[in-house]
Every structure is written in C-alpha cells, then in structure tokens.
Amino acid sequence: MVILQGQSPYNRSTFRYTPLLALILTPNVLLSAHFGKLLFVGCDLLSALLLFRLLVLRGASRSSACLCCGLWLFNPLPIGVSTRGNAESLLAVLVLSTLLCLERRRRTSAALLFGLSVHTKIYPVTYALPVALSLAGAPSRGRGPIRNLFRCFNKDLLLFAAVSGSVFFSLNATFYCIYGWDFLQESYLYHLTRRDIRHNFSPYFYMLYVTAEHRWSGALALVCFLPQLLLLSLSSLAFRSDLPFCCFVHTAVFVSFNKVCTSQVRARLTAFCRRFLRSLLMVCFCFSLQYFLWYLCLLPLVLPRLTLSLRRGLGLLLLWFVGQALWLSPAYYLEFEGWNSFALIWVAGLLFLLINSLILGQIISHYRPAEAQQKKTD
C-alpha cells in the first residue's frame, strides 16, 4: 500500500524484507486482501513440485518421492505459516529451484536464483560455501599448492560467483538508489547485528540477556559464533558431493546454534494471541516456528537415503516435539501470564539444543550417499 503511494515500505516499523516482496504484494491492495496468502500457498505447492522433481532426479522411485513430498505438502507447519501470510515459502521455492538447477547442471539459472534468494533473505549466503566446494575442481596430488588453487577456482565456480554476485549487487544498488540507507539497514544490517535479548529458542538467549550490558558481552558474542562457524565449514567440506544434504545440515546447524531464533512479527501476534490464547497452535506461531521451515523444506530430500528405522525416526520426531513443548510452556507463562520462568526457559533452550544436535547427529550417521546405495544394489 505504501509502495503504491510512492513511499518507502520501510516507513512501516517492522518491514524488514526486500522491497521486491512489497512490490509482489501490491495486488493485495489492488485486487484482494487475500492475494498474498494465495501467493504463498501457491509457493508451497510449487515447492512440493520442485521437491518431487529433485527426488526423482536423485534416483528415488516415484512412489517414495510422492510420499516425501506429502510430508511437506500436508505438514500443518508450512500450511499454517503460509496462510498466516508469511513469506518463508517464497524463499523455499527459490532455494529448491537453485538446487534443482544445480543438479541439472544449469549453472547460470542456478546462479541467478541464488543471487535472488540471498537478496530476499540473507541466510542462504551460508550455502555459498558448499556450492563453491561442489563446483570447484578437486586438487590433485601431483601439483603444487598455487596450481591447485587455480585448479579449484575453475570456470564453473567463477561463472557462478559472477552471475549471482551481479544479480545480488545490481538488485541492491537499484533499491539503495530508490530507498537509501533504510533499505540496507532493515534488509541486511538489522539481521546481522541484531541483539534481540527477548526470549527465543536460541540456547544463548538467557546468557545474552543477563550479560547484555556487561563488558564481556562482545567476547561472548564471538564465542557464540565459533561453534556455528566450525560446524558450517566442516560440514561443507564433508558433504560437498551431496548438495541438498549439505544444505540441510547447514540450515539445521544455523538454526540450532543461532544467537537469535525468533520472529519479527511477534508484537502484532501477541495482541492477536491475547484474544485466542487457548489455542496452542496460535502460541506456536507466536513463538515463530517459521525458522524451522528453513530446513523442513530440505528434509524430504534427505529422507530417501536415510537408513533410520521407522521406530527410531518416529522416536526422534517425538523427542523433537517434547523439546518444543518443554520450551513453549514456560515461554507461554512468561509472555502471557507474567510468570518469572526465565530459568526454566533457559534450561529448556539448552535441552532443545541437545535434542536438535542428537537428531542431526543421528541423521548424519544414518545417511547413505548415492554411491554407497548403488554399491548396495549392485
């Protein structure tokens, strides 16, 4: 609406996305208020189609591909998030189409889509490392280090970097010219430097809250960053040959070890939830499970090659929900009833991290990459 009037979308206090999103949603005002929600639901369906194509391309049978897609399509979480009007499914479409193009060796289209997705939300930039490693040439033993370095930075990698970089920078330059510093601040810098000390799923929440004005808070922020960095680097190196799995591990690590894991629209939701308190679903959305959508859209790609037994898989899933419930309960009482349940939220947050790490560890140890599967069937 604000864009139609020719003003900056950042005049609204909690708009922290790309102006492209505001542009895409202008039919919300011109046509119907439900256009945005329909668009996001459409993106959900498109994501399911992309998942299906990717699964078939990676060798899954059509029936198991359908089953895995069903996990995304009929999952209440993406349905709920999209019908609420949240743009996460748009990003899922962009990320999945980038992966599909890479699997099909359509590197230029992949680079275009990658640049677009990083412009839309900053977090896919973490995929740059595994993508770069998968495109880079393998170093050979005979040559020296300098020659090997040149071999690694081969034509494919440079082309990818050039195309995605130019898409990203040209979009940014355009919007910077139109909207100025506001655009950079709200779209990117806010996310990178945010020091949100309010309660969220992150294990570091309580520590950052009580040390907020301490002199060691800077050093602590660095300590928080190290595990993430180590895990992201090592997993990129270890799983570079299987890009969707690598991206899944990346996103799971990123979300679990992040300093902040919350939503920007909580304040509006809080007012809304006050009236519909009793519904647990509303509470869940209030504490924004949208972060989990980021790796949930990649989970169906990982499933066909998992050798976890159904019992174990369901057990891990149940454990995840238990971890969620253990966090949500004290958080609900803190936010809506004003109880002092900070210590409980802290402990629940740490427990949730342990549970997430266990689940991810089990997934990693029970994953069979394509070559191993082929050897099995031969």
Binding site: V210, A238, L350
Partner: protein, 149 residues
C-alpha cells in the same frame, strides 16, 4: 499501533528495544460514541536484577480530552484546561481540546514485570558455553566419521 486504527502514538516506538534503551511515549486513544475501551499493554524487557524477580512499572492514569468545538455545554463546576492535540487519528490537523481535571482516580495501574536473575550470571555463562561445546563436539565427531574428505 498501526493496526489498531483509533490509537495515535506521539513518537516512533521500537518494538524490540529493552526498557533501558527506550523512552516513554503518549498514546492518544480516539473514542467516538464508545464509553469504555480496553487497552492491551505489553511490557518491555527490563534489566536483570540480582535482588528481585520482578520490577514494578507504573502506568499513569489516563487523561480525558473532549473536543471543544463539539462540546457546547460544560457545567461551570467542572475544572478544565485547554489543550492542543491532533483532531483525528490520521493526524492531519491540530484542534483545541478540553482536558477535564480531577477525574475520579483509582490510582493508576501498575504492572509487575518479571526480570532475569543476574546473580547467577557466571553459572549461566559457564553452563551455556559447556552445553554448546558439547553439542558442537558431538556433531563434529559425527561429521568427521561419516563425511567424505
């Protein structure tokens, strides 16, 4: 604030800032024809305390303003002052309002906001870092064992 059309704030409010980084503000609630309004309040985060689990926040009693051009008869015993404020919630123009003084006051509202415990700061840091290191080590071991390098 933008969603509830009948409320106008006098300054831009950062929804996420803690209490010690934000300043107070005034909210103008425009009533037309209604006689009762419920204003929901959400507390900001306050500094953690090592002595108390709660902090008390007082909210000033509301003041009543009446549009002077729509208010022809005002009984002489009612104490009032003139006040300039926006005419409507869209804040296009300033009008003259009458503030009715000495309203029946039940002392205003106070909230008890829970705060973190800064007396266990060292425990929190140590346990958090240990747990993160433990999870990180577990995952690194798994990745090392099952990755292809």
């Amino acid at each position: 604030m933008e969603t509830h059309k009948k409320v106008l704030l006098d300054s831009k409010v950062d929804l996420e800032a803690p209490e010690y980084l934000s300043s107070g503000f005034t909210a103008l609630v425009f009533l037309s024809g209604k006689h009762e309004v419920v204003v929901p309040v959400h507390g900001r985060y306050h500094r953690p305390s090592d002595s108390s689990k709660w902090v008390k926040v007082d909210i000033e009693s509301p003041r009543l303003l009446l549009r002077s051009d729509q208010c022809q008869t005002l009984s002489p015993g009612v104490r009032h002052v003139m006040f300039d404020a926006p005419c409507t919630v869209s804040n296009h123009s300033i009008c003259s309002w009458i503030e009715i003084l000495h309203l029946e006051d039940n002392g205003g509202v106070s909230l008890e906001i829970p705060v973190g415990d800064s007396s266990i700061i060292v425990t929190v840091c140590v346990v958090t870092v240990l747990t993160t290191v433990l999870s990180c080590a577990y995952l690194l071991t798994n990745i090392w064992k099952h990755g292809s390098f």
